[in-house]
């Protein structure tokens, strides 16, 4: 059964529609990614699931009930929410633990043990994030909602955080993860919903999203002698051929490389600087969200 069910969710602020008929379900134990440019409705959706906002339309349930009724089963890590400057890590942990019937201490696993006496205002960005995760998990929630948790972290800290999320999942927690790092979604998420203009533009596994893109494989090379582009275009696996200066870029399906190199060999042309690119989730994302300028970090 779905642990999170969002049906036909709608939310507007004044005249601006933030979210419009969004529906999805998250299964227990899943890591579900929410992707999309700023202003696409990710945060509003997640806030409705956290019980912070009331939907204008549609319904949101967590564990079959409205989120506001099951707050102790939901752990939330919010984008840009802080603690009092002078509150120490230890105090924050014990304060948040006191809100829940069955608190769990994640400080050890999150590497906070050495910083228990440090005041929040003096923590580094990475430690603040880790504390924030520890507080989200303090009540041993069934569902953890993590909003852009690795934004502002350096690559090493980001990878460390990823392994924490994997730990969280293996502890049986369902994770709703808002992110704008494709690498993060690709590495962690079982399924991803890509938001665009307040709606879900696509919902699939990361590899499923990639395979939706036409010309998922690209071969680039500089031919040693002129090549007939029409002949390349006529190959069964090719969807598109373009040139960039002397370079030829051939797009197509997975078996593209073999088809192209055989053709060149038959014509005794050498492919110099040959490179094969697989379309990444990044490309799929750009295509799904309408690309240019939509994203502004």
């Amino acid at each position: 059964m779905a642990i999170i069910a969002v049906r036909d969710l709608g939310k507007r602020y004044g005249r601006k529609v933030a979210v419009d008929s969004v529906s999805f379900e998250v299964a227990e134990g899943e890591i579900f990614g929410v992707l999309g440019p700023n202003g696409a409705g990710k945060t509003t959706t997640v806030e409705c699931v956290s019980g912070l906002r009331r939907p204008d339309r549609g319904s949101v349930t967590v564990l079959g009930r409205p989120p506001a009724e099951v707050r102790s089963a939901i752990g939330v890590q919010l984008q840009s929410s802080e603690l009092p400057e002078r509150m120490r890590v230890r105090e924050a942990l014990s304060l948040f633990s006191s809100f829940y019937p069955a608190p769990v201490d994640w400080s050890e696993r999150l590497g906070l043990s050495a910083h228990l006496g440090v005041e929040f205002g003096r923590l580094s960005g990475g430690l603040k994030q880790r504390l924030s995760i520890a507080l989200a998990l303090a009540g041993s929630p069934r569902v953890a909602i993590l909003d852009e948790l690795t934004t502002g972290l350096d690559p090493q800290a980001r990878r460390d955080t990823w392994s924490v999320i994997e730990d969280v999942r293996s502890a049986g927690v369902t994770v709703l993860l808002v992110t704008h790092f494709m690498e993060e979604a690709e590495r962690l998420c079982d399924r991803v919903a890509v938001f665009r203009d307040g709606r879900i533009a696509a919902l699939d596994t990361p590899s499923g999203l990639v395979s939706r893109v036409d010309g998922a494989t690209r071969v680039r090379f500089v031919p040693s002698a002129p090549v007939d582009l029409a002949a390349l275009r006529a190959l069964p696996d090719v969807t598109d051929v373009t040139t960039a200066g002397q370079q030829i870029v051939v797009s197509g399906s997975e078996d593209l490389l073999h088809a192209v190199t055989s053709l060149l060999a038959r014509r005794q042309v050498v492919a110099r600087g040959l490179r094969v690119d697989q379309v990444s989730l990044d490309d799929a994302y750009v295509e799904l969200t309408g690309g240019s300028g939509a994203e502004d970090h």
């Binding site: 102790s72 939330v76 802080e82 509150m87 105090e91 014990s94 304060l95 948040f96 809100f99």
Partner: protein
């Protein structure tokens, strides 16, 4: 709830400059003023009292005003601005409890500060213990409630922590003026003195309870009313994020 009060109390104490200032400053000011012989001599202007006697209520006014209007609005507005209240909204605990804890801690600090002033005034300068202790307690509680509630209204309406601090300081200055903190009340025109009697934290009621016979119930009622109205406005208009 107890846990929240404990944590908030720790945070209060840890903010040394502010907490020491709030609790100790009125007493220090009393000691400094009392060190001047002329201010220790009974005089006509003070109705046969010494200056320091007539100034006691203004010291309490300062305490309540400083805590209620300098600390409360900035802390509350900062909690909102930094998303602390929003963060708590996602837990089973309502963020209103954090504000309640804040109020309790600040109120206790105000009471400690007043008690310290009473004790030092008595021991060092032989000032009478409050003539009407119950009346003084009532005046401190109601005057404090009125002042704190004004602070909360400011926190509720100000767009951000900086604005809250600015607005609160303006109100603080004004109330300190009416409360005879800058200029002793006998130097103020009668109209200003009258306003001071009715404006929180209620300098006249405090003075009457301490060295007069009993506070005027009308003054206390006005404080209570201000507290009630301002408290309601604050609760109605408060934004959690």
């Amino acid at each position: 709830m107890l846990k929240i009060i404990k944590v908030e109390a720790r945070l209060f104490v840890r903010d040394r400059l502010n907490s020491l200032f709030a609790v100790l400053f009125p007493t220090l000011l009393l000691l400094v003023l009392g060190a001047v012989p002329a201010l220790r001599t009974p005089a006509e202007e003070f109705g046969g009292l010494r200056f320091i006697d007539s100034y006691l209520s203004s010291l309490v006014v300062f305490t309540l005003g400083f805590i209620g209007l300098q600390r409360v609005p900035t802390v509350v507005a900062t909690y909102r601005e930094k998303g602390v209240l929003r963060r708590l909204s996602t837990t089973p605990m309502h963020p209103a409890r954090l504000l309640a804890g804040q109020m309790v801690v600040n109120f206790v600090a105000a009471i400690l500060s007043v008690l310290l002033t009473v004790v030092v005034a008595h021991l060092v300068f032989g000032v009478d213990l409050p003539h009407h202790p119950l009346g003084l307690a009532g005046a401190v509680v109601l005057g404090g409630a009125g002042t704190f509630a004004l602070g909360l209204v400011i926190a509720a309406l100000a767009p951000n922590a900086r604005a809250a601090g600015g607005w609160a300081t303006a109100v603080f200055m004004l109330l300190m003026f009416f409360g005879g903190v800058y200029l002793p009340r006998f130097m103020l025109p009668p109209a200003i003195q009258a306003i001071g009697s009715y404006a929180p934290p209620g300098v006249e009621a405090l003075q009457q309870a301490w060295l007069g016979t009993a506070p005027d119930w009308r003054h206390l009622a006005i404080m209570g009313l201000v507290g009630l109205v301002a408290g309601t406005v604050a609760a109605r208009t408060f934004r959690w994020e």
